[in-house]
C-alpha cells in the first residue's frame, strides 16, 4: 500500500492561486504568489480536495500520487 502523496512543482507554478483557494488546508501561496504545499501526505478525507486542486491547476504543477480510492467525479 502506497500512501497518497501530493507534490507542488514551484518551477511550473503560474501563481493563479487556484490551489490555495480550492484546497486551503493543503496549499498556501507565498508572498511571491507561488504555491506552498502544506500537507504532502493528505489524509483520506482531504483527497477529493487534493484531486480537485490537481485538476484545476492550470499549469500542471500539482500531482497526486500513490494508491488512491476510486476516483469520484471532480465536483465539490
Amino acid at each position: 500500500m502506497n500512501a497518497p502523496r501530493l507534490r507542488a512543482d514551484r518551477a511550473r507554478c503560474t501563481g493563479a492561486g487556484q490551489c490555495a483557494r480550492t484546497a486551503p488546508t493543503l496549499f498556501d501561496q507565498d508572498d511571491d504568489g507561488l504555491a506552498v504545499l502544506l500537507i504532502p501526505n493528505p489524509p483520506v478525507e482531504a483527497l477529493s480536495q487534493a484531486r480537485l486542486a490537481a485538476d484545476l491547476c492550470p499549469s500542471g504543477a500539482i500531482a497526486l500520487h500513490g494508491d488512491l480510492p476510486r476516483a469520484r467525479p471532480i465536483t465539490e
Binding site: T14, G17, A20, D31, L34, D55, P58, S59, I74, T75
Partner: protein, 397 residues
C-alpha cells in the same frame, strides 16, 4: 481567392456563446474558419481539447508571429509592438508574470475587500441619486471597475476621470482606429508620468513596487514596464466593466437564483463562478499559434497553424457541464475555463471574482427593485469587442 470571414460570430442570446458552437462541437474537434484579416484558424470547442491545447507548451501567444490570429483591427500590430505579457511566450512571459503575480495573491486580493465594498456603496449611492432611467454600464460598473483597478495600481484619484475618459474611447465600438491610438498614447503618457512620480515618492501600490524593484534593478526595461502596467489596467478594467452589468441582467432574468442569494449570501462565491462560466465574456481572447503539432483526442493541430480554443464553447460543453445552457448557482462542476488555462490563466482572477461578488451583492441589496427600462431583447450587444458585454443597460429602481 479571398474567402469572406466567417468568424467571430455574433451571439444570439446575450448570455450564452453563439449557438453555432454546439453544432461545431457535434461535428468534430476542429473547425476551420476565416477571420476578418483573411487568415485561417482552427476553432476548438470541446472542454478537454481547450484545456489540453492551452496547457500545451507548443501553444504560442506571441503576437509577433505573422500567423497570430488577431481578431481586432490593428490589434496584432499594437500587440507585436507593445508586447504585453498576455501575448508573450515563456521564458519572457515567465519573467514578467513572476514579477507581477505577488501583487495578485489571495491575501493581497482579500485585503482589498473593504476598499471594493466602500467603492461599490459610494457608486451605488451616487447612481441612486440620479433620475432614472440611468445606464448601469457608465453610472455603476465602469465607475466601480476603474476605481478598483486604479486603487490597486496606484493611479491617484485626480487622474481617475482622465483614465475613465480614455477607457470610454478604447472600450466603445464606435471609436475609430485613430481615436483608439490617441487614447492609448494618452494612457501610456499617464503611466509614464506615474512611474516617475512614484520613483520620487513611493506609495504602497503596484506601480511603486515595480518602479523601485524590477525597474531599478534593471530586470525590466521602462518601455516593457509601461506595457505590462497598461495591459493590467486594461484587462482588469474591461472585464469587470462588461461582466458586472451583464451578470446583473442575468440575475434579474433568473429571479429564482437571485432569491437563493438573498436567502443565503454565502452562496455568492459559487454564483460568481457560475456567472463566469455561463456568460464567458472572454470567449475569444485566447489566440494561439501551434509551434509544433498539438495532439488532441482524435485530431491534430498541425505545426504552424493558428487556433482559437473557445472558452465559451468549452464552458457550454455538455460533456463537461450537465445542461450547460442552464444557469444554476448550485451546479457542482468547478472546472470552467472562463479565466483560460495554462500559464496565461488570468492573473487577476481572484480580484475579478471578489469585485464581481461585492459589486453584484451591493447592487442587488441596495436597489432591490432594480429593473430594465427597455425590453431585454433590445439590449445593445458589444459583439465586436474582444471582451463581450452590453453597450448600455438602462435601469430604474
Amino acid at each position: 481567392m479571398s474567402t469572406p470571414a466567417d468568424f467571430p460570430v455574433p451571439r444570439t442570446c446575450p448570455f450564452t456563446p453563439p449557438d453555432s458552437y454546439d453544432a461545431m462541437r457535434a461535428a468534430g474537434p476542429l473547425t476551420r474558419v476565416t477571420i476578418p484579416s483573411g487568415k485561417r484558424a482552427w476553432l476548438l470547442t470541446r472542454h478537454t481539447d481547450v484545456r489540453a491545447a492551452l496547457a500545451d507548451p507548443a501553444a504560442s501567444s506571441d503576437a509577433r508571429n505573422p500567423d497570430f490570429p488577431a481578431l481586432g483591427h490593428g490589434e496584432q500590430q499594437v500587440a507585436a509592438e507593445l508586447r504585453p505579457f498576455i501575448r508573450m511566450d515563456p521564458p519572457d512571459h515567465t519573467l514578467v508574470r513572476r514579477m507581477l503575480v505577488g501583487e495578485f495573491t489571495l491575501k493581497r486580493t482579500r485585503a482589498l475587500g473593504p476598499v471594493i465594498e466602500q467603492t461599490c456603496h459610494e457608486q451605488l449611492a451616487r447612481m441612486l441619486s440620479l433620475t432614472p432611467p440611468v445606464d448601469l454600464v457608465t453610472e455603476y460598473a465602469n465607475r466601480v471597475s476603474t476605481t478598483v483597478i486604479c486603487h490597486l495600481l496606484g493611479v491617484p484619484t485626480e487622474d481617475l476621470e482622465f483614465f475613465r475618459s480614455i477607457t470610454t474611447v478604447t472600450g466603445a465600438r464606435s471609436s475609430t482606429a485613430e481615436q483608439v491610438g490617441a487614447a492609448l498614447n494618452d494612457l501610456f503618457a499617464l503611466i509614464n508620468r506615474l512611474v516617475d512620480d512614484k520613483t520620487a515618492n513611493p506609495c504602497d501600490d503596484l506601480i511603486s513596487r515595480l518602479a523601485l524593484g524590477p525597474l531599478e534593478r534593471g530586470e525590466i526595461t521602462r518601455s516593457s514596464l509601461l506595457s505590462q502596467i497598461g495591459i493590467t489596467l486594461n484587462a482588469g478594467h474591461e472585464t469587470s466593466r462588461n461582466m458586472i452589468p451583464l451578470a446583473a441582467v442575468a440575475l434579474l432574468r433568473h429571479p429564482d437564483q437571485l432569491a437563493k442569494l438573498r436567502d443565503d449570501p454565502g452562496r455568492w462565491p459559487a454564483a460568481v463562478d457560475e456567472l463566469l462560466r455561463y456568460l464567458s465574456v472572454a470567449d475569444t481572447i485566447t489566440l494561439r499559434v501551434a509551434t509544433a503539432d498539438i495532439e488532441l483526442e482524435g485530431a491534430t493541430i498541425p505545426a504552424g497553424d493558428a487556433f482559437i480554443p473557445l472558452l465559451g464553447a468549452a464552458n457550454h460543453d455538455p460533456a463537461a457541464f450537465a445542461d450547460p445552457h442552464v444557469f444554476d448557482i448550485d451546479r457542482p462542476e468547478r472546472h470552467h475555463v472562463a479565466f483560460g488555462y495554462g500559464v496565461h490563466q488570468c492573473i487577476g482572477q481572484n480580484l475579478g471574482r471578489l469585485e464581481l461578488e461585492i459589486a453584484l451583492r451591493v447592487l442587488t441589496d441596495g436597489a432591490p427593485a432594480l429593473a430594465l427600462t427597455e425590453p431585454f431583447e433590445e439590449l445593445p450587444l458589444k459583439d465586436t469587442s474582444a471582451i463581450f458585454g452590453l453597450e448600455q443597460v438602462r435601469v430604474s429602481w
